[in-house]
Symmetry: C2
Subunit: 300 residues, 2 copies
Amino acid sequence: MPLLVVGSVALDSVETPDQQRDRVLGGSAVYFSYAASYFTSVRLVGAVGEDWPEEHTRLLAGRKIDTAGLKVMPGEKTFYWKGKYLDDMNERETLEIQLNAYQQYQPELSDDFRRCPFLFLANGSPSLQLHVLDQMIGPRLVVADTMDLWIREEQDDLKKLLERIDGLVLNDSEAKLLTETNNLVLAGQRVLELGPRFVVIKKGEHGAMFFSKHEIYVLPAFPTQDVVDPTGAGDSFAGGMMGYLAEQGNFEPKTLKEAMAFGILVASFTVEDFSLDRLEQITRDDIELRLNAYRKMLQF
Amino acid sequence: MPLLVVGSVALDSVETPDQQRDRVLGGSAVYFSYAASYFTSVRLVGAVGEDWPEEHTRLLAGRKIDTAGLKVMPGEKTFYWKGKYLDDMNERETLEIQLNAYQQYQPELSDDFRRCPFLFLANGSPSLQLHVLDQMIGPRLVVADTMDLWIREEQDDLKKLLERIDGLVLNDSEAKLLTETNNLVLAGQRVLELGPRFVVIKKGEHGAMFFSKHEIYVLPAFPTQDVVDPTGAGDSFAGGMMGYLAEQGNFEPKTLKEAMAFGILVASFTVEDFSLDRLEQITRDDIELRLNAYRKMLQF
């Protein structure tokens, strides 16, 4: 089944301890879409500026990604993020953010897009996420991401959103911030009380935790020594997860767990190079091969 | 098969965000022995002072733990550690250490103990660990723990030790310190180059990683919201792991992986209360029950 994603489309400048890249393709909806496109057809909604390189659109459209919802904002530049990873690549500093095309952007969905059965609200303000959700007609599954900025500054809107979505994906520090506890198991359970039927806490190099009323589990990350650039890992995780759910067309507990595993595996490829460079090299078969190794790793 | 452990026997004062306990039973060899005693008979070697409460010896001897190697040092007090956990219980501060009985202690093993087939060198200086190892007669498996202090201050002796042991168990920050990298997969591989045939990196609430020449894997911690006191989790992990290996009498890859899982599960009980309080309540059956849940958690 088709999967709609609304989120940021960006140009990123990234510095790691060893290397750097300037103005490469990035953004939450970009990583998400590409990751999901191994599994299902994706409809991407976002905004770019007049400086947007057309080759990036071609790259996405070359996959099963419908880019009709990618709006060029007149007189604007593309969202720009500049960040630097510390020696411990789990830590990063944002050096610069230019919202640019996203400053005034309010996504308006086409009638076709409104009827998409699977929706992912990638990183964006809760008010923007609610604005998108209001336009949807009978979605089967709605999952959102959020971040510390919105937890701190738009918590009222975020809580309205949480009452209306099926699943929330957020990282460990955000979960602790939102629920005011340092115990992640407790944090996940407290997020459930805010509305979603399931919650996924991303733990970076340590994997991800799943929470529903009946189930709590942790899956570790796939161990790789080739961590070149962690940017987009979380969005790739969400893309792999949602892509698989949309492909399967259901969100039974069994399917959700498989989806978690696929999310972890796609993310393990993303971090092996900058931007989409590693994902561009792999096929669904490479993901399946790594899945076999991952299953074996967790069996004893 | 019997398992020998040499390490600290201590009285701990522990402060957590919610509670505190004064001078409770602790020490690396104590947590290790108790955890291992679910699986095999244990021979404990360590030193205490004249203030040592005899009831602690009785508690250990009530399990399959031979306390004949527990030496009372005349005129000394028992090793004392005082620590405080921060709001994030993964972080702790040491407020006070009194080596006391361990200041001058040089373990001398009985002839019987020297022939023990399985040996664990719990936390102690590498020179003390080497002194013990020199006394052993034909051990089948020797595994050691170490810590940041020895990596910083006795690295030469530590490297001599690493050339002579089968396995090393250490935590993530120690592995990074020893190998000068922030990538744990790389860190594990670099420790292997220093001599051990296998390395286990403990990641606290995130589980543990295993490295050998042919295999790398990660197993997550068992998720629990009842984290009361993390003290002794790492030593309980090692005790569960080594206890199971000694029980099975081999260290094939399959057995090692099962041993990792048992280590993780015993540690998940330890943190649910102070000192040995939670372990005292459980039986091998409780561990097996949690093992079933853990296996199921990792299946998809």
